[in-house]
Amino acid sequence: MTATGGDLEAPAEPRHWSRPALLVLTAAGMALVTGTVALLAGCFLQSAPPGPVTQRYQAKLNGLVMPEFEQNWKLFAPDPLQFNIAVQARTRTAGGDGDWVDLTAGDIAAIRHNPVPGHAQQNLLRRAWDFYDSTHDSEHGPTAGPRSELAEQYLKRIALQRLGRTGPGGPVTAVELRSATVAITPPPWSGQQQSSQQSGQVQYSELPWWPVSDTDYQGLA
């Protein structure tokens, strides 16, 4: 399928393989082709929408493809995200609750006019929120067992890393996060109905307060 010509090469004179050599080559060739086909089939099935086939062979499929051959090519698909989601946080100290701080705003400021945005600004908080969102229901209840807990601790530590150890009233004892979602106004020419979330209006979704202890800061420096 790729072009292969190009090199001037004297064809080596054909080799007469001995019987053991033929045996080794045959066995290896069959194993290789089988492995190649199996891997490609696995990658294909993992990309395809789930169905009876994927369900029946789920364990084998996961064993073959995950974690190192994971495929996810829903890039801006089936529909691109039509909201700007900002993650905001506030801390509680002995002196009361602090003000909301927009953690995403810092990311956006770093990305603006930056030809090479890094993972720390573009992916870290954004994908941590995606992870949290995909492991919790709309009431912020966990839906993915231990993964939900990982997502919560990750998000908490990101917030603490950016907010620091002390608030206006002393050491931080708890932290609360919320998402602020703004729908992107559809293009004026599209004739699309404004969604129920009026564009320009901010929809907040508050998470429960999470207690903070010293161990939460481990390594955050």
Binding site: M1, T2, A3, T4, G5, G6, D7, L8, P11, P14, H16, W17, A21, L22, V24, L25, T26, M30, V33, T36, V37, L40, A59, K60, L64, P67, F69, Q71, N72, W73, K74, F76, A77, P78, D79, P80, L81, N84, I108, I111, N114, V116, H119, A120, Q122, N123, L124, R126, P146, R147, L150, Y154, R157, I158, I184, T185, P186, P187, Q218, L220
Partner: protein, 422 residues
């Protein structure tokens, strides 16, 4: 092409000028597809039988590695992508992948206990183990770029890149995903046949300079043994097909040792020829996987998009151009998003190119036109959406489909006044 399992060639006149029909210069490689023998009287000129075609396929499968320039281009491009990425993240490396990450080692270990992802960064706490591993990853990318001791470097590159990514799997994006896959596949290709220090050394001939290779081989054995004795590598993995990293790495290590030994003491013997044939077979399978992987990326990306109503009504591109995370140049994005026809054309153009790619591949000329379009689109994404590394990785992946003539021209241009070492 992967359906040609080698079989004993006893029945197909193996060895009697099988390659004579294959021109040794650029030109149509394929024999004309045959109509079934029963259709009409036998023609005067002898035509290759199914057995001959099979034998020829086997010769190609086990013969000298094909697509050497594409493999080398992939090696160079992905080494460059990884190098740029690691250097880009350098100032923030400790926060993103290291000891200051909000994704603490504890969290990372709890996740990998579930999904069994491989990362040497999780083997040891503390800053300096991380710094050492990160430095080794940078070094591996440089070695891979230069094609120095590539049998060793490509495996080091694989382990380093996979380790860094799996340490903080949640900071990655599509670019990291394609890099992750390609560094694995590349370790199975013979990607340093051209445009590499290895090729230059081979061209100079002789067994001079064998010592570094032997030392690296011994060093690998020591490292693998240490990792295994401390329980960090194992032969078996928990999930089906129960193949641990140790099995893979020791197999590669043994193959490299056998390769060297037979080349040194028995260069004309059959074992060496068998190893060469095996190496070619693995290379060819890996190249097929790489090509299929790229097709899978574009096909699934395209097919998922056609299901979306925003892609259907041709307004999809408008939205990423208003996402704060993907608009480093808001004025430029706003300008582009303000044009109905431009948004429509680019939205549809994106879907159509992605869907057309696998179809168009069978026509050389159309494929090349589409490759140019793809590169242009990725250049646009790099600037507009602020995804330069992602775009570069996708362009690097596309290079598996570049025509050899173009690669040769590029190679000749990039080193004026020097003899090609191909």
């Amino acid at each position: 092409m992967s359906g040609t399992a080698p079989q004993p060639q006893t029945g197909s006149r193996a060895g009697e000028g099988l390659l004579t029909g294959i021109p040794s210069q650029p030109g149509p490689l394929r024999a004309e597809p045959e109509a079934p023998a029963a259709a009409g009287p036998a023609p005067a000129a002898p035509r290759p039988s199914a057995g001959d075609l099979l034998a020829r396929g086997l010769e190609l499968f086990t013969g000298r590695p094909l697509a050497r320039h594409q493999a080398a281009a992939l090696r160079i491009c992905f080494a460059l992508v990884v190098l740029l990425q690691l250097l880009r993240e350098w100032p923030e490396r400790r926060v993103v992948y290291g000891d200051r990450s909000a994704w603490s080692l504890d969290l990372a270990r709890r996740l990998t206990a579930q999904d069994h992802a491989f990362s040497v960064l999780l083997w040891q706490d503390g800053r300096w183990w991380f710094e050492a591993c990160y430095a080794v990853a940078v070094l591996a990318a440089v070695l891979m770029l230069l094609g120095w001791r590539t049998r060793f470097s490509s495996v080091l590159f694989l382990l380093a890149v996979v380790s860094v990514q799996n340490r903080s799997i949640l900071v990655g994006d599509g670019g990291d995903n394609i890099v992750h896959l390609m560094v694995i596949y590349l370790a199975f290709t013979r990607c340093a046949e051209v445009w590499s220090l290895d090729a230059r050394r081979r061209a100079r001939g002789g067994s001079a300079g064998a010592l570094p290779g032997v030392l690296l081989w011994l060093l690998s054995a020591a490292a693998l043994t240490a990792a295994q004795l401390t329980g960090r590598l194992s032969w078996r993995s928990g999930d089906w097909p129960h193949l641990g990293w140790a099995a893979l790495l020791w197999t590669m290590w043994a193959a490299a040792g056998l390769w060297y030994a037979t080349g040194r003491w028995w260069p004309r013997g059959e074992p060496r020829a068998v190893l060469d044939a095996l190496g070619s077979m693995v290379h060819h399978c890996a190249m097929v996987v790489i090509a299929a992987q790229v097709l899978l990326v574009y096909t699934t990306a395209g097919l998922y998009k056609v299901q979306g109503s925003r892609w259907q009504d041709g307004t999809a591109l408008y939205y990423p151009l208003h996402l704060a995370y993907f608009t480093p140049w808001p004025a430029l994005s706003g300008l582009l998003a303000s044009s109905m026809l431009l948004v429509f054309a680019l939205s549809y153009g994106t879907v159509l190119t992605q869907l057309a790619f696998p179809v168009v591949l069978w026509s050389r000329r159309a494929k090349n036109v589409l490759l140019v379009l793809m590169v242009a689109e990725h250049a646009g994404i790099a600037v507009l959406l602020g995804l330069p590394v992602f775009s570069l990785a996708m362009v690097a992946a596309d290079s598996v489909f570049l025509p050899t003539a173009f690669l040769l021209w590029l190679g000749a241009r990039s080193r004026p006044g020097r003899r090609a070492v191909t």
